[in-house]
């Protein structure tokens, strides 16, 4: 089904959602917000990479903890640097820093920062709600945040490029019109 952003009400819900996932052209930013969008995009990209990396670390840690049965510790007395300690859920008063738990906590908070970046980009661009959910879920599935980040960045840049192009086209049309008036 051919879709144009303007014909929201005519398209089926599925077609609309698919179109919203595939492009950012249904964005309706206010002109005053346009200069803020590149910054918001940069924040989103940084947080996407950070969240994606932390999520992979978390997955590795889960495999080590529940698959192999070890926790990563730092500075356990008698063992310099990092060391793997047998994981025991009842024994939590070990000396040293529990790096595994630290990864868990830091990831949780960085995901909140990611959500904030998602919200900022979403509200400045005034994108569809589908887009907000798409970006939010991107940070939950391992490797997905990198993929989603690639497409979102491309979509936002294309949108901004289109805006610029249309503005230039309109400006030159006005110039031609003005020039035409002068010659008459």
């Amino acid at each position: 089904m051919a879709y144009t952003p303007g014909s929201d009400e005519d398209a089926s819900l599925l077609a609309r959602i698919l179109a919203q996932l595939r492009s950012a052209d249904s964005a309706r930013p206010r002109r005053i917000d346009l200069p803020k969008i590149p910054g918001a995009l940069r924040l989103y990209r940084v947080t996407a990479y950070v969240t994606g990396t932390m999520l992979l670390l978390l997955v590795a840690e889960m495999i080590v903890k529940y698959g192999v049965g070890y926790s990563l510790y730092f500075g356990v007395p008698g063992r310099p640097g990092f060391s793997f300690v047998e994981f025991n859920p009842l024994q939590t008063n070990l000396h040293g820093v529990d790096v595994s738990t630290a990864i868990l906590i830091v990831h949780g908070w960085l995901y909140v920062v990611y959500l904030f970046a998602d919200f900022r980009l979403w509200s400045l661009m005034r994108l569809s709600f589908t887009k907000f959910i798409q970006i939010a879920l991107g940070g939950v599935v391992p490797f997905m945040s990198f993929i989603v980040e690639y497409f979102i960045t491309r979509q936002v840049r294309r949108f901004l490029a289109s805006v610029r192009q249309e503005d230039e086209a309109r400006a030159s049309a006005v110039d031609v019109h003005a020039a035409g008036e002068e010659t008459h």
């Binding site: 144009t4 952003p5 303007g6 052209d25 964005a27 309706r28 930013p29 206010r30 002109r31 005053i32 346009l34 906590i105 949780g108 909140v112 919200f119 509200s123 005034r126 709600f129 907000f132 949108f159 289109s162 805006v163 192009q165 249309e166 086209a169 309109r170 049309a173 006005v174």
Partner: protein, 306 residues
């Protein structure tokens, strides 16, 4: 930009629930934001947003519960009944880990060795404990008898406590098995002024030893036991598991705050999405940039750029 702002303020301040189905603005019927919110699809969306917010709030409550959680009685080591001898040793102090331990012990009560301890609270009421002298079945390593103080029950009045103590005292010594909670002895105190000179207000094993019979060749445990289970004529003494005080876990508190913020955010997102829809529906597109379509109200921009 100023023009857009002015228009926006006007439309929002004009939102009146009593405005009827719509307002006539310059010949165009304008639906208020409130009217839009009342549409079934946005009501359904609001219910969904509230459900999500409620879910988040519940998660926040759960996190708060975890932040101040005490050890569950089911997991507390004190709730597994252990043999009394082994947890306590005669003449030795009770270790911290054993305080409040549920224990089982076998022996026989010495008839006539029942004492009252005054000023004992049970479910908020002041009354009397009836304390017995139990001789353990097994003897110490050196063959001496082993004595344990057992708080058998509580009575609200002195006469009731005395009656129960008399009744228990009259029973002949026979082997019994009981379970109870083990606690360290209290320190003896001078009885309050005006009360009988031999009144006990503390369960002090050191005091009891001097009142008991047959202690010449016996050793005594400094721990006493609060018996679980009703004894004739007495109320069971309320002795809950010891509270393991955990420090407030700030991490969980922060998570709880986070969930509260998320819950508020879910509702705000609903508002944002409705308002967005409403502005678009009302053609409130001043200052809005769109691409790839011929937008009405944007003169000179009829070309589709893609």
């Amino acid at each position: 930009m100023r023009a857009w702002k002015a228009k926006r303020e006007t439309t929002i301040s004009d939102v009146r629930p009593s405005a009827g189905p719509g307002r006539d603005v310059g010949g165009v019927t304008e639906v208020t934001l409130f009217r839009t919110m009342l549409r079934p699809r946005w009501i359904v969306a609001l219910i969904l947003a509230m459900a999500v917010a409620a879910g988040f709030a519940y998660l926040g409550k759960w996190q708060l519960g975890r932040a101040i959680q005490s050890v569950e009685p089911a997991f507390a080591p004190t709730e597994q009944v252990k043999p009394f001898v082994g947890e306590a040793r005669p003449g030795k102090d009770v270790t911290d880990a054993s305080i409040g331990q549920r224990v089982s012990l076998q022996g026989s009560f010495v008839p006539g060795d029942y004492q009252l301890v005054a000023d004992r609270l049970n479910h908020g009421r002041t009354g009397y404990w009836v304390v017995g002298h139990l001789t353990l079945e097994e003897t110490s390593a050196s063959g001496q008898a082993e004595a344990v103080a057992v708080a058998r029950g509580w009575a609200p009045t002195k006469s009731k406590a005395q009656a129960a103590a008399r009744e228990l005292s009259s029973r002949p010594a026979s082997p019994v098995e009981l379970t109870g909670r083990m606690l360290p002895t209290e320190a003896p105190v001078v009885p309050p002024a005006g009360s009988a000179p031999k009144t006990m207000t503390m369960l002090a094993v050191a005091d009891l030893v001097n009142r008991w019979h047959g202690m010449d060749d016996a050793v005594v445990f400094t721990a006493y036991v609060v018996e679980h289970g009703a004894v004739a004529g007495l109320d069971e003494i309320y002795s809950p598991p010891p509270i393991v005080q955990h420090s407030l876990d700030l991490l969980n508190v922060f998570y709880a705050i986070e969930w509260a913020v998320f819950a508020g955010f879910a509702l705000y997102l609903w508002y944002r999405v409705v308002k967005d829809y409403w502005e678009r529906e009302n053609g409130d597109e001043t200052g809005v940039v769109r691409v790839g379509l011929a937008s009405p109200g944007r003169p000179g921009d009829g070309q589709k750029v893609d």
